[in-house]
């Protein structure tokens, strides 16, 4: 029968060493996990991958808030202001001022880009 040499002090030192290694590994693993999580969140913010709703989801929520619901198969938009005025010849301009309730867009000025050349004439 083959037996280990009897050395109580050596065995105790070996067990203590193993415990230290295990403790170090646990802390290292925890640190790595935490670092990975922080990096992931940082990168996600940088690429715009936030947990906020998409524009479509916001529009849908706004529609629901307005009491409107889209019929199946139809396009549901968030056009809440008149896009044109019918008022007889000469009463034609309508400057929409109301913004969509979702706040998803529409924070700009009424006329956002004037392209008319200064010397252009119609008729």
């Amino acid at each position: 029968m083959n037996q280990e040499p009897q050395d109580p002090q050596g065995a105790a030192e070996r067990r203590h060493g193993l415990r230290r290694v295990r403790h170090m590994s646990n802390w290292t693993a925890a640190g790595l996990i935490a670092a990975t999580a922080v990096t992931t969140v940082y990168l996600a913010r940088g690429s715009g991958m936030t947990s906020t709703p998409s524009a479509a989801a916001r529009a849908s929520a706004a529609s629901a808030a307005n009491g409107a619901s889209a019929a199946p198969g139809t396009h549901k938009s968030c056009i809440t202001v008149p896009v044109a005025t019918s008022g007889g010849s000469g009463v034609t301009r309508q400057a929409p001022v109301t913004k969509c309730s979702s706040g998803a867009a529409g924070s700009g000025p009424v006329v956002i880009y004037v392209t008319r050349p200064p010397n252009a004439e119609d008729n």
Binding site: A84, G90, V91, T92, S107, V111
Partner: protein, 401 residues
């Protein structure tokens, strides 16, 4: 047509950041914010009035504007009586007679004659000399500047009162039956001047809406030519939101409104939704000017040669085509007390406003703010005259059904 300028990127500007990447800029289109990038809206001046185009999806805008420009050019070159070099002006300059005209002018005159027949002469393209006699002989912007055009002032004293005496400059109206159109052969008696104002803008909106929709390749398009509005394709949501209003609710001294609803007499503008067809409005509160000390306006009663008088200051009509809506709205102003019955008999949804601000609605015109205008009936009388457009609109409405 002028040369297209290089497209200008508008990416990143507010309100249109998602849908529109480029837009043609050569004709002076101005982008208008509507508070969402679901659709895109642009406007410019043309044909002596304001033109608006709305499209969805928004990235269809550039294609739609190009098509609208082409149609406006065509209408201006053929049917404008304010251009000396237009085709209709050349017919007038020749002193009438028989002329072979373009398909575009033939269609415009054909629609005007069909409207005259359909309305029993309540609208008549031979009022040209009468309206010129009243002083409307050039672009209205010039008249406004030179003669002190009047804004709406809702007092009885400000109403045109041509019946109380002859209007200086009044000319007889020869009558639409004196004009003949066979194919593209137009025959006009000497001295007759055609004014296609009761139908031409509507026809232009019809043409432009269909052309823009075809150019866009889908989605939905709205074209407003001086407030005569035609839609094509699929509307956004339950319909394009549009305002019906007249100058009585607009701030004094301007024709540019903001939000309607400021009317002091209960006839404030109304927001409605238009899913198909067209809406046009005629009003005696706009295009008014002074002649020899009296206020006149641009809607002439062909039966008298005078500015129309009657109980209505503004009439809005929905119809399957904008030319038809345009003719019906003008006919209702001229018809006066019989307008409601005339419109009811034809099944056309309409909103009529008296000089005192009382609103009357016929044939299901919505009473509620934001209500949807009911689908107007297809009346063969005037639709049939729209060669080149009818087929497209027929197919379009079939899909909607």
């Amino acid at each position: 047509m002028s040369t297209l300028a290089p497209p200008v990127s508008i990416t990143g500007l507010p309100c249109l950041s998602a849908g529109v990447s480029h837009v043609a800029v050569d004709r002076g289109w101005i982008l208008v914010s509507i508070g969402t990038d679901t659709a895109a809206v642009a406007e410019r001046n043309a044909l002596g009035t304001n033109v608006r185009v709305a499209v969805w999806p928004a990235h269809h805008l550039a294609a739609a504007l190009g098509a609208v420009d082409a149609e406006l050019d065509r209408l201006d070159r053929t049917a404008s009586r304010f251009r000396d070099d237009s085709e209709i002006s050349r017919v007038h300059q020749a002193g009438g007679g028989s002329h072979q005209v373009s398909q575009g002018l033939a269609e415009a005159v054909g629609v005007a004659l069909a409207a005259a027949r359909w309305t029993g002469g309540l609208v008549d393209p031979t009022v040209g000399a009468a309206i010129i006699g009243l002083g409307y002989d050039r672009d209205f912007a010039a008249i406004r500047t030179e003669s002190g055009a009047r804004g709406w002032e809702p007092t009885p004293e400000r109403e045109p009162v041509p019946g109380k005496g002859p209007v200086p400059g009044k000319e007889p109206v020869p009558g639409w039956e004196s004009v003949s159109l066979e194919g593209i052969r137009l025959t006009v008696p000497a001295g007759v001047r055609l004014d296609l104002g009761a139908t031409a803008k509507g026809l232009g909106s019809d043409r432009a809406a269909v052309a823009a929709w075809r150019a866009a390749g889908g989605g939905g398009v709205l074209v407003s030519l001086g407030g005569d509005i035609a839609v094509a394709g699929e509307p956004p949501g339950s319909g394009w939101p549009i305002m019906v209003a007249d100058s009585s609710i607009l701030p004094s001294g301007t024709e540019t409104g903001t939000e309607a609803g400021a009317g002091a007499d209960g006839a404030a503008g109304q927001l409605v939704r238009l899913a198909a067809g067209a809406v046009a409005t005629s009003s005696v509160t706009s295009r008014r000017w002074r002649q020899h000390g009296r206020v006149v306006h641009h809607i002439v009663d062909p039966r008298t040669g005078h500015p129309a008088r009657g109980p209505w200051r503004t009439v809005s009509v929905a119809a399957a085509s904008c030319a038809q809506a345009n003719a019906a709205a003008t006919a209702a102003i001229v018809a006066g007390g019989s307008a409601e019955a005339w419109l009811s008999a034809r099944g056309l949804p309409a909103r009529l406003v008296t000089h005192g601000g009382v609103v009357r609605r016929v044939n299901g015109w919505p009473a509620a703010e934001g209500g949807r205008v009911p689908a107007p009936p297809r009346l063969s009388e005037l639709i049939g005259a729209r060669s080149g457009v009818t087929g497209e609109m027929d197919g379009q409405e079939g899909r909607r059904a």
